[in-house]
Symmetry: none
Amino acid sequence: MCSRPHPKAVRSGRLGRPRSTEADTAILHATRAALVELGWSKLTMGDVAIRAGVAKTTLYRRWASKSELVIDAVAVLFDELELPDRGSLMADVEGVVLQFATLLERPETRTALMAVVAESTRDEALRSRIRSAIVNRQKTLVLQGRARAQARGELPYEENAESAARNADLIFDVIAGAVVHRTLVSAEPVDQAWAHSFTTLLLSGLTSLRNS
Amino acid sequence: MCSRPHPKAVRSGRLGRPRSTEADTAILHATRAALVELGWSKLTMGDVAIRAGVAKTTLYRRWASKSELVIDAVAVLFDELELPDRGSLMADVEGVVLQFATLLERPETRTALMAVVAESTRDEALRSRIRSAIVNRQKTLVLQGRARAQARGELPYEENAESAARNADLIFDVIAGAVVHRTLVSAEPVDQAWAHSFTTLLLSGLTSLRNS
Amino acid sequence: MCSRPHPKAVRSGRLGRPRSTEADTAILHATRAALVELGWSKLTMGDVAIRAGVAKTTLYRRWASKSELVIDAVAVLFDELELPDRGSLMADVEGVVLQFATLLERPETRTALMAVVAESTRDEALRSRIRSAIVNRQKTLVLQGRARAQARGELPYEENAESAARNADLIFDVIAGAVVHRTLVSAEPVDQAWAHSFTTLLLSGLTSLRNS
Amino acid sequence: MCSRPHPKAVRSGRLGRPRSTEADTAILHATRAALVELGWSKLTMGDVAIRAGVAKTTLYRRWASKSELVIDAVAVLFDELELPDRGSLMADVEGVVLQFATLLERPETRTALMAVVAESTRDEALRSRIRSAIVNRQKTLVLQGRARAQARGELPYEENAESAARNADLIFDVIAGAVVHRTLVSAEPVDQAWAHSFTTLLLSGLTSLRNS
DNA sequence: TCATAAACGAGACGGTACGTCTTGTCTTTAG
DNA sequence: CTAAAGACAAGACGTACCGTCTCGTTTATGA
């Protein structure tokens, strides 16, 4: 996707030994590996450095803190979501729900997301960094799905742009929130059946829920 | 509500000096205070001990880890949710959504919930502890609301018990997930307007969303 | 030998349950055992209590500190020194030197003596307790040996009582000091040969030392 | 005198920040100060670190235990003993006895020596460390004094080298043992009069002791 | 015989120090 | 000027003992 420049990538002059790009790759990879093995709280900078075959100084030269390093390391994991045209709004929603659920089943994603969100509850700067690096990037999926449904005639066009944006946000919160809650809090699987029930509810409302 | 026994509450025999219940109260209170002031990551056991006027040993005699202590400390905060009869399903849902949002606006609740969930992504024991201490306790609200709506004739009775349980779980995940995501991830307020839009969506489905 | 009353043996009235003498015995025995196994610094009151099958309270009811307990426990070990008449001053000295060395070869005695002395360097009360419980008790051996030698005509009688006492102290310090230093500091064995050389030096002076 | 390398002075390669020699000096100084003020048993590593203006980790990087630290800290104190030529064997011995006694009157020396010896009774490694760092270093004084006395004709030359070494050890144990016992166990002062009596006894034997 | 009073076991309590670990910085040599 | 290595100050961790304090129970008197 797009390039993510380092927060500390000042690249002031042309002088001196250039930074090793291999080190960057190794560090991010080591961070993801450590996150899976140890979890957020037991992940240490020293350990990441050793795994990456790098000095601790090199880490701190590039990232200011554990949080920022981890965000950068995991952000890329969430870029794989996409919305192929499955023919109907129903199918599109079910598809993306299952795709998201699959993503959250992987330990690194699961751990990364919640840990980063948790850490962010006390730090507005971190929170907005997460939103711009991870969350907002996925909102385009909602817009894309709605446009497609409107083209198909499944949904009406909305004249009021502001209200349209609000509705998109609401739908995003409902879909993402439900999947995350089901997966991480209730700790139940998001399978075909659940995805179907959820999509039905989303499209037709509470009264549509019937025995299945 | 119901009693919450300690994880380490072996209380084997009748022998020895009994554990101080005042210490318990003081520790849980101090934990909540420290959580608000410092957040999860800067909260230390030593600090909690000092605030509670208690020795560190006393903490460790009762709780095996910071996580378990914090869970026990904050679980009680979530017991204040209730579902007064507001006359219609719509009003009931809107009411509980706003109530939940208000709860999550308080820093201790917000911090505690996410931190504890994040920590739990690596520890099944912890996760189930959270579910039994916090989450499942609130599921009764869904059951209560549904029963009331059925009595009013707003919702049909479901014959299949299993399917009814599944639907209740789904609705719980959708409501809780949406509010949590809106509040903690999107970092936008859950106000009257949002609650109304969300409730409309939940009751009538996607197609019902119109400009407002 | 003589009875050693407890430091805390207040025995105020006649009322109440009398202190268990079995506990006393068990505690002192356990203390000696723990001292041998663990050494002074790793010996803990709790451990002694467990070994003795006794509550910690029972220990503290009788002894104010670890030091006092250990002193009382080991004092009895040093009471076994005696001075049988071996026919000459030379034989008497050699005999007692070897006897003392044998005593110090036993781990409990060795550990106990040095630990207690070391602890005492900062506490005059403890020091005098050690002297009266252990050290001075052995000074009679010097007096006894001198009297016997004088009776044999090996040593002259001393008219000046004060000077005689000073000399006895000097001889005690030389004998005890040399054996202790050889054993505990130089960490070399006190065997027949060394005892003979030492006794020769003590009796005849430096010039008497010849190749052997 | 000679250099004393650290026990943990691995100094493997040339890489990394070198250990601060100022920290070393500060730590050893702080240790001696703390030892005088608090005594062995109340001396804590944390306190030494604070006094030295150093982190606890820095202490543990260099010394494995309190014992080893204290030994290194106090070893230098015993290097001040020397044997100026006072004209006769008698005067030389008296001089060094008084010098040694003066040394042992200083609280840090007194406390350190006994505590370290006591601690060593259970640890052969520690014991040999003490011998090489403190005790054996002083044995040269005996050899020096004997050589001088032989040159003066006060003592005969010994042909048998092995026996000569044994005699030197014996004399060392007697002098050091007597002074230490008098000072630390009997807790009586080593003054001019005692030094004179002791030297007379050592040179001429028991029979030489007369009223004075 | 039964009340009284002290001693008992068990174990929780407030403290203090331990030795280890992690953080983020600093200081060296090598490239 | 960066890299690797590793020492540094700071401070939290969870454990181990200390000596004290409740508890409920047991064991001798002496009223």
